[in-house]
Symmetry: C2
Subunit: 159 residues, 2 copies
């Protein structure tokens, strides 16, 4: 289990690595990694941060890549469906996947101040929730785990 998000890192490399992996994934699965889709992922990667669909649309729009909501929602649907991005339910927002290289059940640490998002893994389906579901006869198809709070730098700034 590795948490990614609040540590500093070579961000340019991080972005280009992720785009490379995403390109490979799309090629392998014969998915069309179109300009809009690529650009939306790029925008999300550029910030390690949850962004609203309309925030992204604003950027796209300023670049002539589409100016109406369906454009960005379709791209986000594509990215989320194929695991390249995640939706943050608690914020009605989206973030690039930080663990492109393997299957996972994501869990998020979300800073309520700066909206920075750290992604980590969780074995929740094998844990207590999994037990509860099993004993209730419930079939889990999807799990949302989101923790909201303060990231180290915002906690420091507040102190």
């Amino acid at each position: 289990m590795k948490t990614i998000g609040f540590d500093s890192h070579n961000h340019d490399a991080c972005i280009s690595d992720a785009l490379g992996i995403a390109t490979d994934i799309c090629a392998q699965q014969k998915l069309q990694f179109t300009p809009v889709r690529r650009r939306v992922l790029e925008i999300l990667l550029h910030e390690h941060r949850a962004m609203g669909a309309y925030d992204i649309l604003e950027v796209l729009s300023s670049e002539g890549l589409g100016s109406q909501p369906p454009v960005v929602y379709r791209a986000l649907d594509f990215l989320v469906k194929h695991g390249l991005a995640h939706r943050i339910e608690g914020l009605n927002a989206y973030t690039a996947c930080a663990h492109l290289d393997h299957e996972h059940v994501p869990a998020f640490l979300i800073c309520r101040t700066c909206k920075a998002v750290a992604e980590t893994d969780t074995g929740i389906a094998q844990g207590r929730l999994g037990q509860a579901a099993a004993s209730a006869g419930f079939t889990i198809e999807k799990v949302v785990v989101e923790a909201e709070g303060l990231c180290p730098s915002c906690a420091g700034a507040a102190a």
Copy 2:
């Protein structure tokens, strides 16, 4: 850890018990358990199910208890703030708290077909997410755990 929601039970008693406890809680904390607030909780209790704010508003409105969105959102804010109800982030919906009698970090099993909601406890903050947060220096203030899938009766109906 007890899961409540998919088992059958005496629902009338369940509702009146919960309303009684809610009344006590409000009295103890000197909160005003006004007609609108009580009625919204009652509506949520009546279904063990996630309901959208506008669904609830429709019922209120048909009873002359208020016809504008702020009425229901205020009541829901009150109920959620004081732990009498929970917001289901994955559905933009609300459900009555099924564990009124003790403090807890709720986790939900949500049927994607019938929207039935079972509430259970989770020790997530002490589990892997807690570890991840601690090692990242992140301060957790609130945790959302929601599993979407099929409840026993919908799974049976589909088969």
